[in-house]
């Protein structure tokens, strides 16, 4: 080997990153060439010097500075550390989550609840945005859906306030709209529950024939009692090299293992990845609303029949909502992305 060829190899050789063949060649050459030996030594000395360099210390006020910057980021309502302040936080949380829940109620009158979460999930995936609780997303959805059923009074108020006042911490008007009580009335301390998450499993499968494979996956879904949804998923890198379709469906969690195995017969499957749909806020709010309403019903005048009926209607809505969420939480979503490569 000539010295010029050695030049490129000395550096990886020093780091023990040369292949077996390259290593043998380098070592054979080093035996006979003092020049290259000198170069190698110089290289080693240089790297040793670099490794001994001091770097300046990070000033101590960094954490405080960063904390301030982080707090200026889009406010996250459900920060664990801030739930120690129940009053203001709970009102805003109640308002916002009431908003979210009512959106959910709207949605359930038109779409399966899960699709709301799915849409939300898709939107998050596509946009790679801030990891905020999806307050702004939900508000945007209200604007998209326009005016729906106007019979549910409190919800309408929320919708109106929602479109004019995005859920920033500083806006108090968004708070009390969720029920008609003035803020002065005691809000029971917010029940804290652990995160409620539904699993989402994603699998990418390379196939020879996209249409056939889509049909097969749909069949698998239906055979397991689920209804499949087929969309064109365009956010993965594989889409650059081929055409893709995404088939998604919901099954109960116990079925996931068997289904994933069935899916592997469809094509060349990559390792499944996991994700979650966050139902925590919605669930938490349902729990809190139910508690609030039950308490209000108890405190009612016995002859106030009209209010009792109203409250009980509302209570039933929240109970239904909670049940629906519980069902959702037992389901797992499977998203299969099928890729037919154009250039194999």
């Amino acid at each position: 080997m000539r010295c010029e060829q050695m030049r490129e190899l000395l550096s990886p050789y020093m780091d023990q990153m040369t292949s077996e063949k390259e290593t043998r060649m380098v070592e054979a050459h080093l035996v006979v060439c003092p020049e290259c030996n000198r170069e190698l030594e110089q290289l080693q000395r240089m790297v040793a010097l670099m490794g001994n360099l001091d770097t300046p210390q990070l000033p101590e006020h960094f954490s405080a500075d960063f904390h301030r910057r982080l707090m200026n980021e889009q406010p996250l309502i459900f920060r664990n550390s801030e739930l120690k302040k129940p009053r203001k936080q709970a009102w805003i949380a109640a308002g916002v989550a009431g908003l979210a829940l009512t959106v959910g109620v709207y949605a359930s009158s038109l779409l399966p609840v899960g699709m709301v979460a799915d849409l939300w999930q898709d939107k998050e995936d596509k946009q790679n945005k801030t990891t905020t609780v999806a307050v702004d997303d939900i508000i945007q959805r209200i604007q998209l859906w326009g005016h729906q059923d106007k019979n549910i009074l409190p919800a309408e108020q929320i919708a109106d306030k929602g479109t004019t006042a995005p859920g920033q911490e500083k806006v108090p008007t968004a708070g009390p709209a969720s029920n008609e009580q003035p803020p002065a009335e005691a809000v029971p301390a917010k029940i804290q529950i652990e995160p409620k998450l539904a699993d989402v499993f994603k699998s990418t499968i390379k196939v020879d024939n996209l249409n056939d494979s889509v049909s097969r996956v749909v069949q698998i879904a239906e055979a397991n009692g689920a209804q499949a949804r087929v969309t064109q998923a365009g956010n993965e890198v594989q889409a650059l090299n081929g055409i893709t379709r995404e088939v998604s469906f919901k099954v109960s969690s116990e079925q996931v293992g068997a289904i994933l195995k069935q899916l592997e017969a469809v094509g060349q499957a990559g390792m499944p990845t996991g994700d979650q749909v966050v139902y925590t806020e919605q669930y938490s709010e349902a729990v809190n609303q139910i508690q609030t309403l039950e308490k209000q019903i108890c405190e009612l005048d016995t002859c106030d029949e009209q209010s009792r009926i109203n409250l009980q209607t509302e209570l039933q809505i929240w109970r239904d909502k909670k049940l629906k969420l519980e069902k959702e939480l037992q389901m797992a979503t499977i998203k299969v992305q099928l890729v037919q490569e154009v250039n194999p």
Binding site: L53, P56, E264, G274
Partner: protein, 223 residues
């Protein structure tokens, strides 16, 4: 290989992995503390994210310092990098380690900033004393070829000379040196940070070191 056999071999392995995937997702005890913090941060837990920051801030600062060449910029870029990481946390897929992903975010933040500034002409007065980290000031030396370099092996001053040389280098060479010789990442980690193949890392690093060596020997900083 016949298709059926291929699928069988692949599928058995993948099926087992799928099961582990499911168990992982069920947040079993096997999840490390760091993974827990990342998951919490994803759910909006800023306290958890700040814990992650605390674990990595010194390393990211060191990285930023070597890219930017001075402490003030390094400080700003470190903040920027962590904010950017927080905003784009969803795009962390877990296919690399969290630390490596952070290095990648920080590298991009620094290199982007350097690119922006490239247009602006930086004129430094040669009469201005150069501040060292102690707050002492040393006269800035113009590298000359006469052998008056006996003090140069004091680490602090040497660090400044190295930094000057690094600042002269092209971004791809600079990153290679910084990531390997200063931050001591493995070739695999560097490949992930720079989003390139290991082969590319090998050749970039080799060329970068050659450039560095020449500059050092020209200034007689390397025996």
């Amino acid at each position: 290989m016949p298709k059926e056999v291929y699928y069988k071999n692949v599928n058995d392995g993948i099926f087992n992995k799928a099961i582990s995937s499911i168990l992982y997702i069920r947040r079993s005890m096997r999840m490390t503390l760091e993974e827990q913090l990342v998951k919490k941060s994803l759910l909006g837990d800023t306290a958890a994210f700040e814990e992650l920051v605390a674990q990595y801030q010194n390393r990211i600062y060191a990285l930023a310092y070597r890219y930017m060449g001075n402490e003030e910029d390094a400080y700003d870029m470190t903040q920027e990098a962590f904010i950017k990481a927080f905003r784009s946390l969803r795009s962390f897929k877990g296919d690399s380690s969290f630390g490596t992903w952070l290095y990648r975010v920080a590298t991009n933040v620094c290199l982007d900033e350097l690119r922006k500034r490239k247009r602006r002409v930086l004129t430094l007065s040669l009469d201005e004393p150069l501040a060292t980290q102690d707050g002492d000031e040393v006269e800035k030396e113009i590298a000359d070829t006469s052998p008056t370099v006996d003090i140069l092996y004091e680490q602090k001053e040497f660090s400044l000379y190295i930094q000057d040389i690094l600042d002269e280098m092209k971004p791809e060479h600079k990153s290679a040196i910084v990531l390997r010789d200063l931050m001591e990442l493995s070739y695999e980690e560097i490949a992930e940070v720079l989003d390139c193949s290991i082969g590319t890392v090998k050749s970039r690093l080799s060329r970068a070191r050659t450039v560095l060596r020449k500059k050092l020997t020209d200034r007689e900083l390397l025996p």
